[in-house]
């Protein structure tokens, strides 16, 4: 395999992994605060369509990215109000958010199907990417580097800062945190918003960098894979990075196999690969543990009321 081909595989790998990494990282923070937001797929789709719509209308991919983040935050706030202020069931609300996101994005995106925009480009000057191996390091767009920086940032925030400790406390024992005087609901609102922002950004990566175009259900279930990744990572950002790239590898394999025209595996069977891999990974994780979910934040999914 020549250098150029290997590097192109690496580029695909990074591009496939980044959106899932972003969405999963956001959800990790949300779950660390004790909230289970299953609406990641819906938020990603809203971010994707908002990003594309703005980028197409204004001609600026940067504005598109900002719009996507805002769309993600906005949709996550619907979830937050229902579950945090109105104590609605988190599983049902998250599902509703997903179904809503699928429908709303399809509605808004209807006018943009088939349109194209200029893809999000590499952030470093082209001179740095002349040699194939340099391209593997410097040839990525800004969102990729941002995602890696966020992994480090979130990890540091959660384990080494006081606000991070407070967030974890809220997730492990909300009653005690409340007794000490921490604003449990406000902290969870902030966490949910952060999760929404990152999910929106991850979704926009599909419509602004990966394809770049809009189509119905563009994210094809990646939001759900991101949720599985959070479990797989045992709520640790470092493991999340590993997991995201592992899944990126599975998806890259699927793309490469399709491109190489491997005929003895039907394309539909190949398409099953990421989903089967998710199940396999979740199963293997639980096999290596006597009681599952040992590392989950203790208050995950439970509503909190100050009384």
């Amino acid at each position: 395999m020549t250098d150029a081909i290997l590097v192109s595989i690496i580029m695909t790998l990074v591009a496939s992994s980044t959106p899932i990494l972003l969405a999963a990282l956001g959800e990790l923070v949300v779950e660390k605060s004790g909230v289970l937001n299953l609406g990641v797929e819906g938020m990603m789709l809203c971010g994707a369509v908002a990003g594309f719509a703005v980028a197409f209308s204004t001609g600026s991919v940067a504005l598109g990215l900002i719009a996507a983040v805002l769309a993600g935050i906005a949709t996550s706030m619907v979830f937050a109000v229902l579950t945090l202020s109105l104590t609605a069931n988190q599983v049902a609300t998250g599902l509703a958010l997903t179904i809503f996101g699928i429908g709303a994005s399809s509605l808004i995106g209807a006018g943009f199907v088939g349109k194209t925009i200029e893809r999000l480009g590499p952030v470093f000057p082209a001179a740095l990417s002349e040699h194939p191996w340099l391209r593997a390091i410097f040839g990525h767009d800004i969102v990729v580097y941002l995602s890696l920086a966020l992994v480090i940032g979130v990890g540091w925030f959660l384990s080494r800062t006081r606000p991070g400790l407070i967030l974890r406390a809220v997730g492990e024992n909300d009653a005690s945190a409340h007794a000490i005087g921490y604003p449990v609901i406000a902290i969870r609102y902030a966490a949910v918003a952060f999760g929404g922002a990152l999910a929106g950004l991850g979704g926009a990566y599909f419509s602004l960098a990966l394809t770049p175009m809009w189509a119905d259900r563009l994210t094809a279930g990646r939001g759900w894979i991101a949720l599985a990744l959070v479990v797989f990572s045992a709520w640790k950002p470092g493991r999340l990075l590993l997991g995201a790239y592992l899944f990126g590898a599975v998806m890259t394999f699927e793309l490469q196999a399709k491109a190489a025209g491997i005929s003895w595996i039907a394309p539909e069977v190949l398409a099953m690969a990421p989903y089967l891999a998710t199940i396999a990974v979740l199963t293997m994780m639980s096999l290596g543990r006597k009681t599952g979910r040992l590392d989950a934040p203790a208050c995950l999914g439970k509503p909190f009321s100050a009384s």
Binding site: A88, A92, L107, V231, V269, A271, I279, S286
Partner: protein
Amino acid sequence: MLEWRRRREPSTAMLYLSPLIAIGLTMLMGTIVFTAMGYDGLTAVYDFFLLPLLEPQRWPDLGVKAAPLIMIALGLAIGFRANVWNIGAEGQYIMGAIAGTGVALATYEMSGWWILPMMALAGVLGGMAWAAIPAFLRTRLQVSEILTSLMLTYVAIQALYYLVRGPWKDPDGFNFPQTRMFTPDQTLPIVIPESLVHLGIPAALLIALVAWLVLEKTTAGFAVKVVGLAPAAARHGGFSAERTTWITMLTGGGLAGLAGIFEAAGPFGQLTPQFPVGYGFTAIIVAFLGRLHPLGIVFGGIVLAATYVGGEIAQTTVRLPQAATGMFQALLLFFLLATNVLIAYRIGLRAKPAKAAP
């Protein structure tokens, strides 16, 4: 300052009112959003929500759409009551249809009254088998059934595509990705002549009745209710959480599979890539709209069927895009979840704290 104050006991009035309030709010929101998008808001909402319920000639259509929704939602509801979240009903629905179609294709040359029941049985077993996987993973390995059942839905969709594009493609079908059309022996009979009302509709109502009887009058039904409300008490009473998971998942899968083969043998008449319409997901909304109660689910199924039929009507009258249907169904669920709070809480004024004496 306004605040939520817990009621002394849950309000029964709100129990029945809140779904209606939710529907009302959805219609209001719909009018606002549709008008903002440039459509004739009032006509759109009327065509969408009310017309299907008011025009008797639409009722068979309603029944056809409601039947699978009710069937699937009944299966989901007992799971949801027990905190078993079967999100993969769409996949079980597809697998049931695939299993039943397999029987149909194998008996293509044959005839007899036994073919259709065999197909139905295959459908139930197919759906159950697909639901058994997440059930097994949850009971043995504590793997979340939400994620596994959902992943399996995507796998099932790909399996469907593979079959209709490959081994099961109709040899006389001009290379279109579809199976053979089912023979009359393999098609669901129409129960009201000259109409669309097929066997699935009374079947769904019958199952709802049975579900209600089981839930209210049997120990098993009681177990299901208790396991969800008080798991520790349930264990103490001898109701095994694992058995509940298995029973609820298999029931959900079986009913979804039955709905799947009924749709394939009824309205569709064959399997095509367009077969997954999302009933498995909409059924989740039906289950909640019906408060997880069999009779409520019949009501909820009819309401959501109305949005499907209404969506089609609004497409022609007000040119509303098809995607609006899905979005509004989800909006209904949002309002439902929001109005739920009114059952346990009510709005009150927060009294100013008394100033301490100097």
